[in-house]
């Protein structure tokens, strides 16, 4: 995937179990330098476990990791001096101010200057509240401070687990701009998030994991191009005719009737073919009551991570469709 490009982070056959619970079943990640990498997966896919391993909090059962071209294990914790992270909820001393938290937490690992602390307070928009106790902060303000902690040592590699949690719209825009700017300056950002439209706006490369394995990994544009669709809704008695027209445009085996009752058809063609589809249907006297083109990350994600549908009799009473894909992470 990255021939010629340097790799900031690589994992090879990474495995981790908690008792009988397999969290990672042989994860192979490859994150090139200078990109925003969207690390996606359903709940329990192994994302947080991966983040914990990458920050030295837990050890893998087997497998190898290299960071910035060097092997990383418990004897090379110094590599973490060049890594910034925000894993799960941000952690602070609630009785201290934001400024003092940055100073205290900045005293661990590589020493951080007071000037850097002030710079980060400005960057995350907390300068005006920098002397307030963190216990008085809102969730969004704590998240901003957590991002500042992750950036303390001007890291080469940034690992962020749900960094947009609790941020207001301006905070999200600020985060997006900051991460893009970091990647543009040659830093590498690995971001795990369930807010897929946000990831789609930020990520250059995406890796999707499920059940502790990498399902797909590659440049976002390429992945989405291969997943482009046009969805059409017609009258139920016009499904056969519409199917024939869509097959003519999209090709054999590229059209599905996803919902016969509601008469939705999906053609796997580029989203910009929606106009052609509409015109062809109209010329045949079929007027679509619904038509949309798309190639969104959410569709790709759901398609790749959807568990096999259980037989109707096997469904647990009260189970909400789509909520049965996760375990624990």
């Amino acid at each position: 995937m990255t021939s010629g490009a340097t790799v900031a982070l690589r994992t090879k056959d990474l495995k981790k179990s908690y008792g009988r619970q397999v969290a990672l079943a042989g994860l192979d990640l490859e994150v090139p330098t200078g990109v925003v990498y969207g690390f996606l997966g359903p709940n329990g896919a192994g994302k947080t476990t991966t983040m914990r391993i990458l920050t030295g909090l837990i050890r893998p059962n087997s497998g190898t990791i290299s960071m910035m071209g060097q092997p990383f294990d418990r004897t090379r914790r110094d590599l973490l001096h060049h890594v910034g992270s925000l894993i799960e909820a941000p952690s602070f001393y609630p009785h201290l101010s934001a400024r003092n938290n940055l100073r205290v937490l900045g005293a661990t690992g590589l020493a951080v200057s007071n000037a850097r602390v002030e710079e980060l307070l400005e960057l995350v928009g907390l300068r005006d509240r920098a002397n307030d106790r963190v216990s008085r902060y809102s969730m969004g303000m704590k998240q901003r401070l957590g991002i500042a902690v992750a950036l303390l040592n001007d890291p080469e590699l940034l690992l962020l687990d749900e960094p947009a949690n609790g941020l207001d719209p301006s905070g999200i825009v600020g985060l997006r701009d900051t991460l893009k700017a970091l990647a543009a300056s040659g830093k590498t950002v690995l971001i795990s998030s369930h807010i897929l439209p946000e990831v789609q706006q930020m990520a250059d490369i995406v890796g999707i994991v499920a059940a502790g394995r990498l399902i797909t990994q590659g440049p976002l544009d390429e992945l989405l191009t291969g997943q482009a669709i046009v969805r059409v809704r017609v009258r139920p008695d016009e499904v056969a005719g519409a199917n024939a027209i869509l097959t003519r445009i999209a090709g054999e085996s590229r059209v599905e009737v996803t919902d016969p009752e509601a008469a939705w058809l999906v053609a796997h063609v580029a989203a910009d073919k929606a106009t052609d589809v509409n015109r062809a249907l109209a010329e045949a006297g079929i007027y679509a009551s619904g038509l949309e083109g798309g190639s969104d990350l959410e569709s790709l994600f759901l398609q790749l991570t959807a568990p096999p549908a259980p037989p109707p009799s096997a469904a647990a009473p009260g189970t909400i469709p789509g909520w049965n894909s996760g375990a624990a992470s």
Partner: protein
């Protein structure tokens, strides 16, 4: 060194630090007032003072005996409060997730464990000094209530030995509280730390009176008893339970051994543990 000083700053500014010192100081003052009142009762010979020896109480209120009395109170009241304080302080490193941040920033786990305890130990030193100075004042006030002279606390013959005893008290308290630190850090829970050390403290006080002789022998070398002996207090006259069981120098060496051993165990455990949550 920076990690230790930063640690002092983060612990010193916690409300629990001030509250703990105030409670310890309050108990110390109450103790001296109580002793003064008991002395008056013993001297007056009323029903409340029946069978009491005034010299036992005057020893607490006059220097140099008051020095040992102050240090003894620092170790006993300060010890139990210190145990709870240390378990609370170290437990929040887990519950607040700040240990997680330090480790993920590439901080050596063992160094963090040692530096954190060193910071707490320096706070304990501050607490010991505050209690000691308060104790001096309380002894004078107590002597005044009792209607006797407290004597000269700045006797040049006593002062060097006093500094050594103060230092020993701090080491003894550090060794004792390292037990709370170890339990809390290994169990990753301040509740486990507080519960265990309070249980241990009570067993150390009550246990020797109830248990068979061979168990008593073991208790002599456990942190609470041995640290108490390490201070080398003389004990009040007529008080059979006071005084040292083990020679103070040997006790000090064993105390330091406990301190180093417990911190080493903590380091090993934290090095190996998985940090989740």
């Amino acid at each position: 060194m920076k990690l230790i000083l930063i640690g002092v700053r983060k612990f010193w500014t916690r409300t629990a630090t001030l509250v703990s010192i105030l409670i310890a100081v309050g108990l110390l003052c109450l103790e001296f007032v109580g002793i003064a009142i008991s002395y008056r009762a013993a001297v007056s010979g009323g029903t409340r003072g029946e069978g009491m020896d005034p010299s036992t109480f005057s020893w607490f209120l006059t220097f140099p005996g008051a020095f040992d009395a102050i240090l003894s109170i620092i170790f006993s009241f300060g010890g139990i409060i210190g145990l709870i304080y240390v378990a609370t302080m170290s437990g929040t490193e887990w519950s607040w997730g700040t240990l997680k941040v330090a480790v993920s920033r590439g901080q050596s786990r063992s160094l963090y464990v040692i530096a954190t305890f060193a910071s707490i130990s320096l706070i304990l030193l501050g607490g010991v000094l505050v209690m000691f100075v308060t104790g001096l004042v309380a002894a004078f006030v107590g002597a005044s209530i009792a209607g006797i002279s407290a004597g000269n606390p700045f006797d040049p013959a006593v002062f060097p030995g006093l500094l050594a005893k103060l230092l020993r008290t701090w080491i003894a308290l550090s060794a004792l509280t390292s037990l709370a630190y170890a339990v809390t850090m290994v169990a990753k829970s301040q509740m486990a730390g507080v519960g265990t050390v309070i249980g241990y403290f009570l067993v150390s006080i009550i246990g020797p009176a109830l248990l068979p002789d061979f168990v008593k022998e073991i208790f002599k070398y456990l942190p609470f008893s041995i640290s108490s002996d390490a201070i080398g207090l003389s004990g009040a006259p007529g008080n059979a339970s006071s005084g040292n069981i083990i020679d103070p120098t040997i006790a000090l060496l064993i105390t330091v051994g406990w301190l180093v051993g417990l911190i080493a165990v903590t380091c090993l455990s934290v090095e190996r543990t998985e940090i989740t949550g």
